[in-house]
C-alpha cells in the first residue's frame, strides 16, 4: 500500500472507526502533562500540541504492576500452593502518535524480554498484539538527543506506521505488515502523490539536520569497563541524586522489575512491579549484604548499564533512546548528557554559570 493522506480531523474519525478491531491509545492532555489513553468518542486527541507524554508508553505493553500468578493457601483446596497463571486476553491494540524514540525503546526492551532462551509471556504477547503508529517530531525539544542514540525524529525502527504532520494533513506510511493491516482497516484518506512524498522527505530531513549532535558516545565503546567503573567523577555525579525512581520509571527503555507475593486470607497473588536500580532494595541480598549499598554505586549502575554493559553485550546501540525525559524531569537536574560526556572523557558542557 502506498502512502496515504488524511486530513487531521479525518484521521481521528477514521481511528474512531477502528473501535471493534483495536483498542486505540492516543495522547491526551491531563492537567500539566500528556498521557496515552483510550480513544473514545469524546476524547480530545492532542496530536497537535503534545511533545511527548510524561510517562512513556512502555506501560501499555509492560504495566507498572502486573498480577502474574494467583494461588490458594487453603489446605482443603486440592490446588493448594499451586501457582496458576492469571488468565488474560491480549486483544489487538494500537498506540497512535507514539514518538519514534519510544518505539525504538520497545526494540531495546525486546532484547531483554524476548530472547532465544526465555520469552516473557506477558510482555511478548502484549507486544505482539500492539501496532505502533508513530508520529514524527516536527519540533524536537532541546533535551532530545535521539540522533546520538541511533534514532531520529522520523526514524522508522520499531514502528509499524509513520505519520508525518504536514500542517493541515498527515501523510501516513505503512512500514510493516502489521502496519499495512492497520491501515487496511481505516476508512477515508487519499493516496499520496509525489509532491506529498517529497514534502514529507523535506520535512524530515530538515528536522533531522537541526538535531544537536552533542553527545559523544563512541569513545565509551572502546574504553575498558574498569576504567569507566573506577573513574573519579562518580561521586560528583551522584552527589545531588535523590535515588528516586523518576529517571528509571519515566524511561521508556528501563525494564527492571521486582516480584512480590501478596496474601489475602487464604489466597495470594504473585505480582511484578517495576523496580529501579536507584533503590537500595534493588540489590539487597537476603543475607543483609548489599553490593550497591552506596548512592554513587547505584547511580553508576544506571549509566554503566545503559552505555557500557548493554553495549558490550549486544554491540548494537545503547539502552537509551535519547527521549530526554530523565533530563527534563530529574528533580535535581542530573543530566545524562553530561554524564555521557564524562564517560567519554569530554568536558561537560555546563562548566559554570
Amino acid at each position: 500500500m502506498g502512502d496515504k493522506i488524511f486530513t487531521k480531523q479525518g484521521w481521528v474519525e477514521s481511528l474512531r472507526g477502528l473501535a471493534g478491531d483495536y483498542m486505540v491509545f492516543v495522547p491526551v492532555k491531563e492537567g500539566d502533562m500528556y498521557a496515552f489513553r483510550h480513544l473514545d468518542n469524546d476524547t480530545k486527541v492532542a496530536f497537535d500540541d503534545y511533545h511527548n507524554t510524561r510517562m512513556s508508553p512502555k506501560s501499555i505493553v509492560y504495566p507498572q504492576s502486573e498480577r502474574m500468578f494467583e494461588y490458594s493457601l487453603d489446605k482443603q483446596d486440592p490446588d493448594c500452593n499451586i501457582l496458576k497463571e492469571v488468565p488474560k486476553t491480549f486483544a489487538p491494540q494500537a498506540i497512535v502518535g507514539i514518538r519514534p524514540c519510544d518505539a525504538h525503546a520497545f526494540q531495546i526492551s525486546k532484547r531483554n524480554f524476548d530472547t532465544p532462551e526465555y520469552r516473557d509471556p506477558w510482555w511478548v504477547q502484549r507486544y505482539e498484539a500492539t501496532t505502533l503508529i508513530g508520529l514524527g517530531c516536527n519540533s524536537p525539544r532541546s533535551t532530545c538527543f535521539c540522533t546520538a542514540m541511533g534514532g531520529g525524529p522520523f526514524d522508522e525502527e520499531g514502528l509499524d506506521v509513520l505519520m508525518f504532520d504536514m500542517g493541515e494533513t498527515y501523510l501516513v506510511r505503512a512500514l510493516t505488515d502489521k502496519g499495512e493491516a492497520f491501515l487496511g482497516k481505516l476508512n477515508g484518506g487519499r493516496s499520496a502523490d509525489k509532491t506529498d512524498r517529497e514534502a514529507a522527505l523535506r520535512l524530515s530531513d530538515h528536522v533531522r539536520d537541526g538535531m544537536p549532535d552533542v553527545v559523544p558516545v563512541d569513545p565509551i565503546r572502546n574504553k575498558e569497563i574498569k576504567d569507566i567503573f573506577d573513574a573519579s567523577f562518580w561521586d560528583d555525579v551522584a552527589f545531588a541524586c535523590l535515588n528516586c525512581g523518576t529517571c528509571t520509571f519515566l524511561c521508556p527503555a528501563c525494564w527492571c522489575f521486582d516480584v512480590q507475593d501478596e496474601v489475602y486470607g487464604r489466597e495470594g497473588d504473585r505480582i511484578r512491579n517495576w523496580d529501579s536500580c536507584m533503590f537500595p532494595l534493588f540489590t539487597l541480598h537476603g543475607s543483609g549484604h548489599n553490593p550497591r549499598a552506596k548512592k554513587f554505586q547505584r547511580v553508576r549502575q544506571r549509566f554503566m548499564h545503559k552505555f557500557k554493559y548493554y553495549v558490550d553485550k549486544f554491540d548494537d546501540g545503547f539502552q537509551c533512546t535519547g527521549c530526554g525525559r530523565c533530563v527534563q524531569f530529574c528533580p535535581v537536574n542530573i543530566d545524562i548528557r553530561d554524564v555521557l560526556r564524562l564517560m567519554s572523557d569530554e568536558p561537560p558542557v555546563r562548566l559554570s554559570a
Binding site: 504495566p63 501478596e262 489475602y264
Partner: protein, 56 residues
Amino acid sequence: MKNLLEHTGLEPGRLHFSWISSAEATKFVKVAKEVSAAVRALGPAKYLVKRRAEVV
C-alpha cells in the same frame, strides 16, 4: 493520627482512643460497648480497605 485520617476521609467514629488501666474493668466494658456501637452504626468500612491489589 485520628485528625489526619479523618481529614483524608475516615468517618469520625471509626477510630477511637482510650486510656484504660488494667484495674478499670468497668471502664473497659463501657468503652468497648461504645466503640462497637459507634462502629456498627457506621456500617462496613470503605476507607483504606484493600481486598486484593487493584492491578492488571
